[in-house]
Amino acid sequence: MSLVLRGVDKRYGAVTALDSVDLEVARGSRTAVVGPSGSGKTTLLRVVAGFDRPDDGRIVLDGTVLHDGIQHLPTHRRGVGVVMQDGALFPHLTVGENIGFGLPRETPDRARRIATLAEQVGLDASMLPRRPDALSGGQQQRVALARALARQPRLMLLDEPFSALDTALRASTRQMVADVLGAAGITTVLVTHDQAEALSFADQVAVMAGGRLLQAGTPRELYFHPRAPLVARFLGDAVILSATVADGVARCALGAVPVSDRAARGQRQIMLRPEQLVVAEGGAVRGVVEQVAFNGPFCSIALRLPAHPEPLALRQSALAPPAPGTEVGLSVQGVAHVFAAEAGAAG
């Protein structure tokens, strides 16, 4: 493991920002920390960077203790790179000077290193003498990344670095960052409130809420097998139903649905993703279409079932959507996820 957090607590007055957080990040991997605002994800990043001091717990990076109550390594000795939401470029320095800020003056070939770093993040050399305010948002984030890369950090912390960019630029910048960090083999922690970004960027996703780390795992694991309904809902639309589970089958408003956990039994909550519900003529369950919303690539359908109080959300190709008011059949693809008994009750 590269980065290890154990029982990290942080309080600001009466507010508990981090509540005994445990997290492990494998060397060279990319972890995304997601959660709603106020969940503690940025605080987590700040205590790892050393901007804030945890009240308790321990943080270790590649065997070096960053914080454990006895030792507290200040930020500038941690070897941790940080890219902040707005880039935090120094307005009084040129782009080149910003990139070279962390390089010691006596670095051999300093100018060439700066040029190489700029090239690495896809910045034109003509931008080096400019002031940061002459750059677009995407370019500023590239400068911030090059600046952080210059010190060859062991760990890169990204604090919502793409949130200020427009949608098209966001995807391409994200890909560029993933490529550059992947090529350099730098362990990365990304903080974001955008679940799609987290799922596509990371090898590991950690979901936080109320200062607690609810679950960490691979994107697939979290998406299809969330530990709690809260995690399920945060990572995407979810159809959550009450069911009686026995012998690998859940009996619910959708009829008999196979479940992933064959050992589960009793009164439980199960979850399906909207894309698992497919409108099909021969479907065993029938319902009435209440609403159809066109979203471009797909349409969202609200379907009312006779045996369920709330309409179900499902997704279908936008090519031939059913008309509101019509009765359609429904079939379930794949298996449903069964929440643990206590998690279902809590959610």
Binding site: G7, I70, V82, P91, A148
Partner: protein
Amino acid sequence: MTAIPVVAVGDEDGVYARPMPWLRLRPSPRLLVAGAALLVSLLMLLPLGFVAGMGVQAGWQTVLVLVVRPRVGELLVNVVALVVLTLPLATALALALAWLTERSDIPGARLWSALAVAPLAVPAFLHGYAWVSLFPSFHGLGAAVLLSVIAYAPFLYLPIAAMLRRLDPGLEDSAGSLGLPPWRVFTRVVLPQLRLAICGGALLVGLHLLAEYGLYGMLRFDTFTTAILDQYQSAFNGVAANMLAAVLVLLSLTLLGGEALLRGTARYARLGGGAPRPATRTPLGRLTHPCLAALVLLQVAALGVPGVTILRWLVAGGGAVWQAAEIGPALASTAELAILGAVTATLLSVPMAWLSVRAPSRLQRVLEASNYVVGALPGVVTALALVTLAVTALRPLYQTTFTIVLAYALMFLPRTMLSLRAGLAQAPVELEHAAASLGRSPLRAVWAVTARLAAPGAAAGLAMVALGITNELTATQMLAPIGTETLATRFWSYTGELDYASAAPYALIMVLLSIPMTWLLYVHSKRTAGR
């Protein structure tokens, strides 16, 4: 790393040491800064505490005898009349100038706008000198009001013009579309939005009216400030002077309170990032020439009279008035005091400015506000407190550079604090964090980033205060070490002897020194308003 008692704790990663929580030692720079800010604030409160202390010491009976007497009544009538007449006139003049330069199609609007600020380059007492030497019988309330309006209207013009530029023209367009004729748009939409600018500017002018010594001394118009100085210079009567100072403090506090009351709680939030397009200028039509004539007349009074007077006396005096043996040392000691005072004020304002940007809290806001209130008190109060304190308790400090520099620092600290605060606001803490993550230690991060970014603001404040000290007369006269003559005190003693020609070189130097700062002030107000 600090060596502190630990207990061993085990978990799945093995055993590691954990400090006993109640013994965790954290060096807190914030606490040190807060302590420093508190000390400076207490120092700032010294003059006020002193006035109160003198009153308590003298006893209620003595205070009554000294305060309730015809002389105080006369002064009160003078000062109230001065304030009540000057403020509306100056506001009306500033409003007219601001509207002409910002919203009308008057030819040469930019030039007139610069000229509207230009009287600030002429210290108020130079206006007095110019008019009195031209018209020797120019005295009394009318003269005082006229010259006060001319000298201080720029303090109202600057914020009003800046606000006029920032107003969203869309509001006026909507008002017009709702059927309001132009003049109703001005009174119902524009004027209410200018209220904050008018209140702030009027307060500043009012405080100057209370604090000014040289101008009213020239015009033989008695105010509390001139009376305190006379009392101090003729017969040093500590208690009597201090009771006059107490009344002056009450008047200043009344102005501050009145401004707060008038300003109300209204804040005109602007939506969006400033005016999206410039407001349309109203054509003056046939009024163009009368307006131009009025502007020319005003500038003749505001700049022509001092300019012509200084030149006239310089020509009359010829080479004889340029006494290098006098001017040189005066320039040197002025520079010394100005730089020492400005640097001290800047240094003293660092802790509070830092706290107010980086770690604001309720207590900090109260302390900061108290600094502004104390800084708003007339310099004569501060000077009197320091003189009395030095004479009675700290004799070795009497008439030393230390005392006068301290007085300057206390008087001008709010100005350096404002500039520093604005400078520090340019350097968000995230930039320091970024520097730390790039390997800079906390102190080096502050130096490489925050200090660089705050420097222009701090330098502007420093220069402004240095200029203020250069033109300062009241505290300088009371506190300057024996034998130390500044430009202002030399000028003052020559005019006191009616030797206007010998005073002229000092007047010229003071004006020349003031021009760059006035220009800076003008440019700065344009730039901030443009944002």
